[in-house]
Symmetry: C2
Subunit: 242 residues, 2 copies
């Protein structure tokens, strides 16, 4: 069983994901938001790679059952019902709804990896659930960090490293790529106090400046949600386990 | 003073380097080879981004004073005088010579960063000399890791982290990007036994398979050469310090 970490979606071809098992991580905030929204009863998340496509898709759906969510430059998009703050996606608002979601990095990464055989959504919130599921699968894994504007982001890589470390507790014979080894080391260095780490990253600082400290607090909580969002047929739903 | 690390040359525009001070790192083996060749008396290194251009440039130069060097898939290119092994670049062979060099990652990275205001070549061999020079400059620094086929390479990032750690010994008020912080952490995790680290990276394993253990040993030596190769006017020469 091999594990590789893709530090950014930059320069990756969509077709390179064909047949693979991929885990997407965008800690601040898209994958934390998806995990949270589905856990709060949203029917499904429809990740899209452009605002225009989000609006187009929403036009063909029934009103009331569909919500538009997402951000540009950390802020809610004009005319959208929801931003990209996981705290907005409360049970009251999202229960039973289809949510069309556009975010600068996270949903684009999901769409890029859409040809994967298995495609999962991971954050600190559902990390141990994800690790358990991967251990039950026994297949090679690509962890795709959404990064920031096609560049490296420390928080996604630390989350990847923590996920691999969790998998390693039950599987000793993993073959780790350079990036997988680096991610484990970065989790050891930065992964002890997740809230502090998130506040000190470039993306974290930008969110703090824009008043999103509560979001950072929420996204830093480890293993609070036992759920595995899974992309299939262009939507993300919770995996129903036997 | 800000320090940023570019983990790969992928997706970078040549013009983005305009006016910047850039340090190129390709531990295995291009920057180690350049440092070594110049230290052994080579007049200059002419880094090129394609084999075709290497042959073209060499055609316009006087025979005897020019050597063609480089590799493809770790091996010497047919018809070239030298490969990409630093051990080949002995005083006897290179003294007074202009060397046109093509390598898969390193020389391409140098050419990509050619519009930098200051452009330096770093490896473990000349790391402390490089750090001293940067400290004397007091300017923002971009460290460009050549990586491997446009992907992350652990050895280049560890070298970047060690360079920053060395700079930090004399400068405490550095502003560090996420990648700079990550590089420092990776040097702490992997930078104690450089030979062991190099042997265990993906690129190191490939070189071992191809019989280049002595090269890895040579490239792992820290601070054995007190020289700073500097790119200017399309050639790399040793910086003459006042």
């Amino acid at each position: 069983m091999k594990i590789n970490v893709l530090l950014t979606p930059s320069n990756l071809d969509e077709l390179s994901f064909s047949g693979k098992t991929t885990v997407i991580i965008d800690v601040l905030r898209a994958t934390s938001t998806i995990v949270s929204a589905l856990n709060n009863g949203a029917k499904e998340i429809i990740p899209v790679a452009s605002v225009e496509f989000a609006v187009k898709v929403s036009g063909g759906m029934f009103g009331g059952l569909t919500l538009l969510g997402g951000e540009r430059n950390t802020k809610k998009i004009e005319g959208f019902a929801l931003g990209n703050s996981p705290l907005e996606y409360s049970s009251r608002l999202v229960k039973g709804k289809s949510i069309i979601l556009f975010t600068t990095n996270g949903t684009k990464a999901v769409v890029k990896a859409k040809f994967s055989k298995n495609l999962y959504i991971c954050s600190f919130l559902n990390l141990s659930a994800m690790a358990d599921h991967i251990n039950s699968m026994d297949t090679d894994i690509e962890i795709l960090c959404a990064g920031r504007n096609n560049s490296f982001s420390l928080e996604d890589t630390v989350c990847a490293g923590k996920l691999i470390s969790e998998i390693l507790k039950n599987k000793k014979d993993l073959e780790l790529s350079d990036t997988a080894q680096a991610s484990i080391a970065l989790n050891k260095s930065f992964g002890k106090n997740l809230f502090k780490m998130l506040c000190e990253t470039e993306h974290g600082k930008l969110l703090l400046e824009n008043g999103f400290e509560e979001d950072i607090k929420f996204c830093s909580k480890l293993n609070t949600i036992h759920a595995i969002p899974c992309f299939s047929g262009n939507v993300v739903k919770l995996l129903v386990r036997e």
